[in-house]
């Protein structure tokens, strides 16, 4: 019985690994931005190329081949909320040198090790959301100091952060030019129901004012 359960556990881990392999064939043919976009779309996320509308896949993870046409257009924003991206899957996102907004909300496999790789996006990244990620702790948040262009950071609802109030203060000190959004831990009372991670991903980002290039909530 133990053997069967070990087997099941291994199969689950293998599935996540397989889904996070590098899209090198697409990368070689169409470039890194399209490869990164395909990767996210396959995972159920959304992508925004510069001066284009958001693109997302349907419930069967299919998406339009129009993506392959955007060869010279950089990816500016990614909404990977709830996606099963892991440390290796990030290989597909880190080469996106014009990425300005990234949402990794509620990503179940994004952990401190993943955050330690985000320094590669330091030149372009302005907005980052890590809200609701179960595996992130304050140790991973400390790595974000590399992101010198960050203007907005959402670190709310992180169950792995033991002292959210103190952590937020330390992160704010660390990133003086960045607006840090955390859980309002001072307020008691009923909260919004947390999104069920098993439900279909709400791929469409919340509406934003026209000044915001990204539109990621």
């Amino acid at each position: 019985m133990e053997f069967l359960r070990e087997n099941v556990l291994q199969k689950q881990m293998q599935k996540v690994s397989l889904e996070n392999r590098s899209f090198t064939i697409i990368q070689d043919k169409y470039g890194r931005d399209i490869a990164g976009a395909c990767f996210i779309l396959q995972h159920g996320g959304s992508v925004k190329f510069r001066d284009r509308e958001w693109i997302r896949s349907d419930e069967y993870r299919r998406f339009s081949a129009e993506v392959l046409k955007f060869q010279a257009v950089p990816v500016e924003a990614i909404d990977a909320s709830g996606c099963a991206i892991n440390y290796h899957g990030l290989d597909n996102l880190l080469p996106l040198k014009k990425l300005q907004c990234l949402s990794l909300q509620r990503c179940p496999h994004v952990d401190d090790w993943c955050l330690s790789r985000l320094y590669l996006l330091a030149d372009s990244l302005q907005e980052l959301s890590l809200a609701g990620c179960p595996q992130i702790s304050e140790r991973g948040l400390a790595c974000l100091h590399h992101l010198s262009n960050l203007r907005r950071l959402d670190i709310s609802d992180l169950p792995g952060v033991e002292y959210p109030g103190l952590t937020q203060i330390l992160v704010e000190e660390m990133l003086p030019n960045c607006e840090v959004v955390g859980t309002d831990w001072t307020q008691e009372g009923p909260e919004e129901q947390p999104q069920d991670p098993a439900s279909p991903i709400h791929a469409k980002p919340a509406a934003r004012d026209l000044g915001d290039p990204c539109g990621v909530s």
């Binding site: 070990e6 556990l9 881990m13 440390y87 320094y119 330390l170 000190e173």
Partner: protein, 442 residues
């Protein structure tokens, strides 16, 4: 905190088995790593019987638990960089390597904040050369000028710093107890036996052979290990095929027990294992205005080092003493004057905020210090043919344990190193006087 008794061992009063294929002396992180890899690499499940003998189940003096817990790739030897890269990969995938059914996942509490090495004019060229090699091996290290350093870490006083190297990924520090506990739980599930006792004697037999030059060589084999149990004057004999010396700070003593070094000076037989315990102090202090959340593990030109501990502006650090300052390793008492006179002035010089700090506690631990070239000894002894070494890491044993464990298992099971070529780390270098010097000792 270190030194606290832990309940890592249960059933310690059991006697060791009468026979074991491999007896590993030392149940710290290196010994357990060897045990893990032996069971992982054995050709068929259950093929190798492994016994770990550890004389202190509280690990009160073991280097593992007293360690500051750092891991870095910033070494001067390629093999050390490779070992470290493998180890960090092991740590990142710890819950795949060490998974046990029904066991909760391990949390090593890894802080991925990197090491920051500061070099003066004198050391800048060597630093740059080392970084070039580290990058070639795949480490992600950046070089910084004093200006860049000042901009990134405004709390540093860059006076006297000519160049700095900074680990961007895969460097930082973690909780050594979690690793030890995880290894322990895993190897037990793989069938490794444990015994709490002290090795007091080896029963050996000798064999005279002629080598290719026609000279007579005296080869020895260990047949039996005598384990003295606690609270008993008796010993338990364990018949074995191979002994692994993972006794850390006491590995030199253990080697002598096997007759290593007992011969005319200048001969192979007369070459001792040059590993001895060296005491190192670690201090924990509080500094309300100290460096913030982003602080790496900083090692200064003066040899002083520190890192943050927790969220409340506490820091741990220390400094390796010079040869003249070496404290008496007979006990683990802390010298508080050493902090006042030899550590604090340099801390305050480099980080002005540290002028106002308060020490809360301190402890001491041992480096298993290789007096010959400050690097590990790995693999079989040339004469005592079935004693395998895994010690002498001089302060970087914890971070290399996963890689070293694998290397020892490879050479023990397969006769040669497979993944990382640890040939330069063999014992014979002491007789041949071929130093494999590691320059970046902290």
């Amino acid at each position: 905190m270190p030194g606290e008794p832990s309940n890592l061992m249960c059933d310690t009063k059991h006697l060791p088995p009468e026979h074991s294929d491999v007896v590993i002396v030392g149940g710290g992180v290196v010994g357990l790593s060897v045990a893990f890899w032996l069971k992982k690499l054995e050709k068929r499940q259950g093929a190798i019987r492994v016994l770990v003998v550890e004389r202190d189940h509280t690990y009160s003096k073991a280097s593992t638990g007293l360690s500051v817990g750092g891991i870095r790739q910033q070494f001067s030897l390629p093999q050390n960089v490779q070992l470290s890269l493998f180890s960090v990969d092991f740590l990142r995938n710890i819950n795949e390597y060490l998974a046990v059914v029904d066991g909760p996942p391990l949390d090593l509490q890894f802080n991925p904040l990197g090491y920051l090495l500061l070099a003066s004019e004198k050391g800048a060229a060597v630093l740059e050369t080392n970084v070039k090699m580290q990058r070639q091996e795949g480490a992600k290290i950046s070089l910084m000028s004093p200006e860049q350093l000042q901009k990134k870490f405004p709390w540093i006083n860059t006076e006297g710093v000519a160049l700095a190297s900074y680990g961007l990924e895969n460097e930082g520090w973690f909780d050594p107890w979690s690793l030890l506990q995880g290894l322990r739980r895993k190897v037990q599930s793989m069938g490794v036996l444990f015994c709490e006792g002290e090795v007091t004697r080896f029963i050996t037999s000798s064999n005279s052979m002629r080598n290719s030059d026609g000279e007579e060589v005296n080869l020895k084999r260990i047949h039996e290990v005598h384990v003295k149990m606690d609270n008993s004057l008796e010993y338990q004999p364990v018949e074995c095929a191979i002994v692994v010396n993972a006794a850390g700070a006491w590995s030199g003593q253990l080697a002598e027990l096997a007759g290593i070094g007992k011969g005319p000076p200048g001969t192979l037989e007369g070459t001792k294992l040059p590993v001895e315990p060296r005491k190192r102090f670690v201090y924990l202090w509080h500094c309300p205005q100290g460096p913030g959340l982003e602080t790496p593990l900083v090692t200064d030109t003066s040899g002083v080092y520190f890192r943050r501990e927790g969220l409340s502006n506490n820091y741990v650090g220390g400094r390796s003493p010079t040869e003249e300052e070496e404290p008496d390793p007979a006990d683990l008492e802390v010298d508080h004057d050493f902090f006042q006179n030899k550590v604090w002035p340099h801390l305050a010089q480099r980080v002005p905020a540290f002028e106002a700090l308060k020490v809360h506690s301190a402890w001491a631990g041992y480096y298993d210090y290789n007096t010959f070239d400050q690097n590990g000894v790995v693999g079989p002894h040339p004469l005592v043919v079935n004693m395998y070494f895994a010690s002498g890491f001089s302060g970087h044993g914890l971070q290399h344990a996963p890689g070293v464990g694998r290397a020892v298992a490879e050479v023990l099971l397969g006769g040669c190193f497979q993944t990382i070529d640890m040939t330069p780390f063999l014992f014979s270098r002491f007789y041949l006087e071929e130093k494999v010097l590691e320059q970046n000792i902290i």
